[in-house]
């Protein structure tokens, strides 16, 4: 490719101007990389914080075999449960591929009565004592954590300790509607307060409750749950894990519907909201790149105007316009891509620096904006792809739309003494 070879030779030949263009591109890309990193950080915070409580990660989900049939027909699914969940969990955890199987309920929203006062709107989360992932997401600020032997106990968010006249040991009556719409209640003992490691205003009304009390409030019998979250051992392929579970299900005669979590789509409302914010961020990045791209192309057009002798020489040597379009497009693409890569490297360095500052806050507004109590710039391959892809696409587009005019040079300028 002669055009490619000539473009690579032209870049150092016009080093000063290309350096300016590259620096501008790098600065813009560094800023945009940080912009997308902020969005990545929001999503990471949400998944580690609120998502960890309400929609914890798993590799495979196990459902009642009739669950999706009912869901597809818009029929109530609350009855489509897994019974003997504890026995099934133990059997699954005996499989070499499975690290842990966690019985999981849908959420419940209920009111609390304590000391003759009513406290509205608590979001109940069943805290399985063996769910290591969930227990790793918070620390206890007063009292103690929920253990295997606990029955009818509750943990409240640390802000409840500050705002409600409740102390560990108090009895609370929880009343609300179960999954079937029936009024349900349970008397529980407050055993402590938890502080999420990645706090968020959406967690302040969360109440962690033992699975037995949760089942009662949900209208379920003992060991009856909505689904099982299955986490595979590190290094085990999800397909292999799925096959092992299906074989186990067939052999044991316990019919279950296994689904890959990654194929289920994202049903976590918080991640969906922040995912939508990210889409807006990406659109803003592309618009910024488009505007910057046209600005750069104007500089390139001026640059080419100053290189009319060179262009005229190419024409004198028999070059056609499409060849020169290719040549100068390659040249500006390499300069811009080089700038983009430098910008990303600069962005990565700034990201490390900013994250090292460890900015945290308990302010709810701050937590909503950054998705959690810690300002963290995240990292995802998509940020890299959007910037590099955006720069490539916009450089090509702007080249095609602006270079043609700059190349309208008569061959005679190659031999002119002056302009």
């Amino acid at each position: 490719m002669l055009s490619l070879k000539l473009a690579l030779r032209n870049i150092p030949a016009h080093g000063q101007r290309n350096l300016i263009i590259g620096v501008v591109t790098a600065a813009v890309c560094a800023f945009l990389f940080l912009f997308l990193s902020f969005s990545d950080g929001e999503i990471e915070n949400i998944q580690n914080g609120v998502g960890g409580f309400y929609n914890p990660p798993s590799d495979i989900l196990a459902y009642n075999p009739d669950f999706f049939f009912a869901a597809d027909r818009h029929e109530p699914t609350a009855e489509k449960t897994i019974r003997d969940a504890d026995k099934i969990r133990n059997a699954m955890e005996a499989l070499p591929e499975v690290q842990e199987a966690v019985p999981r309920f849908w959420g419940l929203y209920m009111d609390f009565w304590a000391k003759n006062k009513k406290y509205l709107g608590f979001s109940l989360v069943a805290a399985q004592p063996r769910d290591l992932f969930l227990h790793a997401k918070y620390k206890i600020t007063a009292g103690r954590d929920i253990g295997e032997a606990d029955n009818h106990v509750v943990l409240l968010h640390r802000t409840a300790a500050e705002n409600l006249p409740l102390v560990p040991g108090d009895e609370i009556t929880i009343v609300g509607k179960d999954y079937f719409g029936q009024v349900s209640s349970a008397k529980v003992t407050l055993i402590g307060f938890f502080d999420p490691l990645m706090d968020n205003p959406n967690l302040t009304n969360a109440a962690l409750i033992d699975p037995t009390a949760f089942g009662t409030l949900a209208g379920y019998g003992p060991d009856e749950v909505n689904r099982l979250l299955i986490r595979l051992k590190p290094g085990v392929d999800t397909g292999r894990g799925l096959a092992a579970l299906q074989t186990w299900s067939n052999r044991s005669g316990i019919p279950l519907d296994f689904r890959r979590t990654d194929a289920m789509g994202n049903n976590d409302g918080f991640t969906l909201i922040y995912g939508m914010v990210r889409v807006i961020f990406v659109v803003m990045v592309l618009l910024t790149l488009l505007i910057t791209g046209f600005g750069i192309m104007n500089v390139v057009a001026v640059n080419l105007h100053d290189r009319q002798k060179e262009i005229g020489t190419y024409f004198c040597l028999g070059s056609e316009k499409p060849f020169l379009m290719r040549l100068y497009t390659w040249e500006i693409l390499f300069v811009n891509l080089g700038g983009a890569m430098a910008g990303i490297v600069l962005g990565l360095a700034l990201r490390e620096l900013i994250n090292a500052l460890g900015i945290t806050s308990t302010d709810p507004g701050f937590q909503v904006v950054v998705g959690g109590g810690r300002f963290a710039l995240g990292l995802s391959p998509s940020s890299f792809y959007w910037i590099v892809g955006g720069v490539t696409l916009i450089t090509i587009l702007t080249s095609l739309t602006t270079l043609g005019k700059a190349l309208n040079v008569p061959p005679v300028v190659a031999v002119r003494e002056t302009e």
Binding site: W113, T173, K177, Q182, V183, S184, A186
Partner: protein
């Protein structure tokens, strides 16, 4: 031993079946009296725990032992047009803003009051519960009603019915055995078919300051045709032309 046990079990089984059927007959007789096919004007008063008073006035059109019912609000102004229809276990509310019917759960609280939509429209004892006669005296029967399905509004209700088939009290319990609501049936009035309680007062032991009451102001017996009890009729208002 075997010769004694078997007949004893048989007698016990028959006695329990008889008691259950008898209890069901009492509940059905009470429902027939309380919920005739009629046009009924009602007043719902809700007093919050902060002492605020809210009033809802409504007219209901009922059929088939309250299996089919339309409720139209006449006050307050913000509720006018937000009418409700209940067909068997399904409740729809009309949304005047969109002109559409929206399905709502029977157990959803009615405007934040102590009544659920199911209570306002009808607490269907005979369909949703298995009644068992627990005690009886010269004036009353005490029945224990246990939910047939998990979607009944309360897990267990202790219902006291007098010998004229008028309910006196209803005490609602959750599956965990907690008392969550008491219903007192008071102010007997002859509304056209003999005296029956005109007011139901609902309280919760958890919040004793909060009180809701539903009073039947006027009741006119009338058989409405089946085509009236259609969710499309929430906007068509056919029953008003009959």
């Amino acid at each position: 031993m075997k010769s004694i046990l078997l007949p004893s079990f048989f007698v016990l089984f028959l006695a329990s079946t008889w008691a259950q059927e008898d209890a069901l007959a009492i509940v059905k007789a009470m429902e027939k009296k309380m919920y005739p096919n009629a046009k009924t004007e009602m007043l719902l008063v809700h007093i919050t725990s902060q002492g605020e008073r809210e009033e809802y006035r409504m007219v209901s059109y009922t059929k088939t032992n309250n299996q089919k019912i339309i409720v139209r609000f006449t006050a307050p102004a913000r509720m006018v047009g937000s009418d409700i229809i209940m067909l068997d276990r399904n409740v729809w509310a009309f949304d005047p803003a969109s002109g559409r019917e929206v399905k709502i759960p029977t157990n959803q609280s009615f405007g934040g009051t102590g009544f659920s939509y199911g209570d306002v429209l009808r607490l269907n004892f005979s369909d949703n519960y298995i009644p068992v006669l627990k005690t009886s005296d010269a004036q009353t029967w005490t029945l224990e009603l246990t939910a047939k399905e998990r979607d009944a509004p309360y897990f267990r209700i202790v219902l006291v019915i007098d010998r004229n088939f008028n309910p006196q009290t209803g005490t609602c319990y959750t599956r965990a055995g907690d008392l969550v609501k008491t219903m007192d049936y008071t102010e007997p009035k002859d509304l056209g078919a003999g005296a029956k309680p005109a007011t139901i007062t609902v309280k919760s032991p958890l919040d004793e300051k909060e009180v809701s009451s539903l009073t039947v102001v006027k009741e006119v017996r009338k058989d409405y045709p089946d085509n009236v009890f259609n969710k499309r009729n929430l906007s068509a208002r056919l029953e008003e032309k009959l």
